[in-house]
């Protein structure tokens, strides 16, 4: 315990160690936060399903890009008549002939500098009975468009963004109003949110009309259905930025994957590194101590394992069997315990075996087992600890690389999986830099943290490396 304190004190004299410890500590805090707030099973289920991500924008950038581009990109606006909010209003208006109009009114302010990415209206009805619905879009300044009239039966998702009919009507209206139509293919998002003056005619000048927007859903119902039928609507104006990490092509929040990737990466790296190093050390110590035919057999096995192609073997195994990330970890460990480390450690142990205190231990009757564990391994432990720390990132990278190859756990939510999705969706080609950069940065940060701590530890345990 006291030794540990001394070590820590010495360690903090190195700035690199301080940086390394800070990085690792923040990664650990992040991991703890992930583990405490969201159970792993729930996260993997959520990650591989579609429904929970309905109200998230597609390929949205992280919100903090607003700071850098100097414009305010739209956030997602969700309005739901099933929730009691001041922005939604449900009224019933009686009209003639025992008919009623169920009117759902959404009101929202739109003050962003860019157009939304999508607008979707979902209408929920508790019966399969057919109703007529009319959807009206009111821009600030009272410009009113009847967007659509439709027959409603049960649940209906109305993708306003891809309604070509409305676009035709809108263009016709513009010709009436301004005398010409836009010289480019105006999108419905632009049609719904643009300022309707000369600026709309040119793609470079089209601007957002800021102010209070309203969307009105009118459903015509008969008296008999008035108290029986439950009709609700949800309007989602999808933004272009979301959260601290953005979203991917399946609308999933990358923050969740990056958050849960941390404990998995740390666990994978640490478990692999520690187990492999200690197993190799143990095998090497036994091999050096017992010598003779045992040594011969161990060394030949090691040589065989050293020439086995590691990556192709892993790929083969994971193509043949459906493996989870923890089975993958086990396979990595099994393929590595007879690695080149056995040779290195054996060379060290062969030297240690000749140190006089080992002979003294034999002379007072120490068992072979005790000699290996109490006399040989502690002697090289100080030189091992830095290498354990330094090899953690290797395994974190390995997991990411395997995920990039499409190998590994389809369920697991890891940094490698995020990168794989990004690569598959050609994220860099499409300009979704955040999608690649964020997990890469986390990977680099992990490597940097462990490398800086490891190098400082190396200087402490191997004083010959210390600079004057």
């Amino acid at each position: 315990m006291r030794q540990l304190k001394v070590l820590l004190k010495e360690l903090l004299m190195y700035k690199s160690a301080l940086v390394g410890i800070t990085i690792i500590a923040s990664l650990i805090i992040l991991s703890l936060y992930a583990v405490i707030t969201a159970p792993y099973g729930e996260v993997t289920r959520k990650w591989s399903s579609i429904d929970p991500w309905e109200d998230f924008p597609k390929n949205a950038m992280p919100s903090w890009v607003n700071i850098f581009i100097g414009r305010k990109l739209p956030e997602t606006i969700v309005l739901d008549s099933r929730k009691v909010e001041p922005s939604t209003n449900k009224t019933i208006i009686p009209i003639t002939g025992g008919k009623y109009i169920l009117r759902i009114l959404f009101t929202f302010g739109y003050t962003y500098d860019d157009f939304p990415s999508e607008v979707i209206l979902r209408i929920f009805s508790s019966t399969t009975k057919q109703f007529t619905a009319q959807i009206v879009w009111v821009k600030p300044g009272g410009i009113e468009y009847i967007v659509s009239r439709k027959l409603l039966r049960g649940y209906e998702a109305y993708y306003i963004t891809s309604d070509e009919e409305f676009l035709k009507k809108f263009n016709a209206n513009l010709i009436n109003k301004l005398g010409s139509r836009p010289n480019y293919d105006i999108s419905i998002n632009e049609a719904l949110f643009a300022e309707e003056d000369q600026s709309i005619l040119n793609q470079n000048t089209v601007t957002v009309l800021k102010g209070e927007y309203r969307a009105i859903v009118d459903v015509l119902i008969g008296e008999e259905d008035l108290n029986k039928v439950q009709i609700d609507a949800k309007l989602v104006v999808y933004g272009k930025v979301h959260g601290i990490a953005g979203t991917d092509h399946r609308r999933r929040d990358l923050a969740l994957a990056l958050l849960w990737g941390t404990p998995i990466a740390l666990a994978f790296g640490l478990v692999a590194s520690i187990t492999i190093t200690f197993a190799q050390m143990f095998i090497a110590a036994m091999s050096a101590w017992y010598g003779k035919s045992f040594d011969f057999i161990v060394q030949r096995i090691t040589e065989i394992f050293m020439v086995l192609p590691f990556l192709p073997m892993l790929l083969m195994i994971s193509y043949f069997y459906k493996i989870t990330i923890w089975v993958l970890l086990l396979i990595v460990i099994l393929l590595s315990i007879f690695g080149s480390g056995v040779k290195n450690y054996r060379a060290m142990f062969l030297q240690i075996k000749e140190i006089p205190y080992i002979e003294a231990a034999i002379a007072y009757g120490t068992s072979s087992f005790r000699i290996v564990f109490r006399y040989m391994i502690p002697k090289i432990l100080p030189t091992i600890i830095p290498s354990i720390v330094l090899s953690v990132p290797d395994f974190v990278f390995l997991e990411a690389a395997l995920a990039l190859f499409g190998v590994g756990d389809p369920q697991a939510v890891t940094w490698g999986r995020v990168l794989e999705d990004a690569a598959r969706e050609a994220a860099l080609y499409k300009g979704y830099y955040y999608w690649i950069l964020q997990p890469s940065l986390l990977l680099l940060l992990t490597a940097l943290g462990f490398a800086m701590l490891g190098l400082a530890l190396d200087k402490i345990f191997n004083p010959r490396l210390r600079e004057m």
Partner: protein, 332 residues
């Protein structure tokens, strides 16, 4: 032949009696054995209880191998080792544990002999743990032993690590570790050769005291005849794996019989300045290769008295005056 005739039966009261001991290290080439290094060849030694036997010889003469074979670190190829009336040549398992308790080992390099990652208490506790001494007794025994080797006050040393001690103190810890199991025989392999001259006498005096108080028997391995003179009751001179001469210390030193012993004694530096210009006669040449020892007497290439018979046949062990054993044709 004469050499086989020397088979004086062991005295069962002697602490150690070695007869015809051979240690041959095999030389392996891939899967076959291509030859042997004859580190020890036909060694006979007697040590009475409570006495100190010095084994003297130059490096490579097999004295350390002999020590380690007595300690059962090396397994003898041939011959017998009788300890306190019991044949321990081939003991194993539980019995060897008993023997480990009976014999202590003091090494040459005190720093290498102590594990650097343990403190003194842990170092001394190890033999006690292995020999299942109850936990409550351990600390008192550690204290007793440290006091005995004069590492006082004990509190100043017990929690220190070996690198914090001086060479002399480290050697005292090594001695304490050898003594902690209360052995009857100590094998001390050049215990003072790595120490400063001033500390040497202290350590040797300590050995003497301990030997007197505990009635220990000591096998004192050295290359230095002068400390052997100061310290031992009996001297065995080794050359190229053979014991060439064995007798009481004063007899060996005053009347050396073997030509090799004679040259060794002549080679002892003399501090008298009047003798500084005196030419010291040392035997020419070097000790022979043990892989391929010369036929006949192993000393004959360097021996000033070499005869024809020395080149042909191995000399017998001859008892001169009843107590002086010498392996030389001159007396044969």
């Amino acid at each position: 032949m004469l050499k086989d005739e020397y088979a004086k039966p062991c005295n069962l009261n002697d602490i150690l009696c070695i007869r015809g001991l051979c240690v041959w290290h095999p030389i392996r080439k891939f899967l076959t054995i291509s030859g042997y290094v004859r580190a020890l060849d036909d060694v006979n030694i007697d040590l009475e209880k409570g006495r100190i036997l010095a084994i003297v010889g130059e490096s490579g003469s097999g004295k350390t191998t002999l020590g380690k074979t007595i300690l059962k670190i090396y397994q003898p190829t041939k011959g017998r080792i009788i300890y306190d009336g019991k044949d321990i040549t081939h003991i194993k398992g539980k019995e060897i544990k008993w023997y480990r308790r009976e014999v202590g080992y003091v090494q040459q390099d005190p720093y290498g002999a102590l594990p650097p990652f343990m403190n003194i208490r842990e170092i001394l506790e190890e033999p006690l743990i292995i020999h299942e001494v109850p936990k409550s007794d351990r600390i008192t025994r550690i204290r007793e032993t440290l006091e005995e080797v004069k590492l006082i006050p004990v509190e100043d040393f017990i929690n220190k690590y070996p690198h914090m001690l001086s060479g002399g103190q480290q050697q005292r810890v090594v001695i304490a570790r050898a003594l902690i199991l209360r052995p009857k025989l100590i094998v001390a392999d050049e215990p003072v050769s790595m120490l400063d001259a001033s500390v040497r006498i202290e350590i040797l005096t300590l050995f003497r005291e301990l030997q007197k108080r505990r009635g220990l028997s000591i096998v004192y391995i050295t290359h230095d005849l002068s400390t052997a003179k100061y310290f031992s009751d009996k001297i065995a001179v080794m050359y190229a794996g053979h014991v060439v001469e064995m007798a009481q210390t004063d007899k060996v030193l005053s009347k050396p019989m073997h030509p090799y012993t004679q040259s060794l004694i002549k080679a002892i530096p003399d501090p008298d300045p009047r003798n500084r210009t005196l030419f010291r006669e040392v035997p020419p040449g070097e000790p022979p290769s043990l892989l391929n020892p010369p036929p006949g007497c192993r000393f004959h290439p360097r021996c000033p008295y070499a005869m024809d018979v020395c080149r042909r046949e191995e000399p017998p062990i001859v008892e001169v005056n009843g107590v002086h054993l010498v392996k030389c044709w001159l007396y044969g």
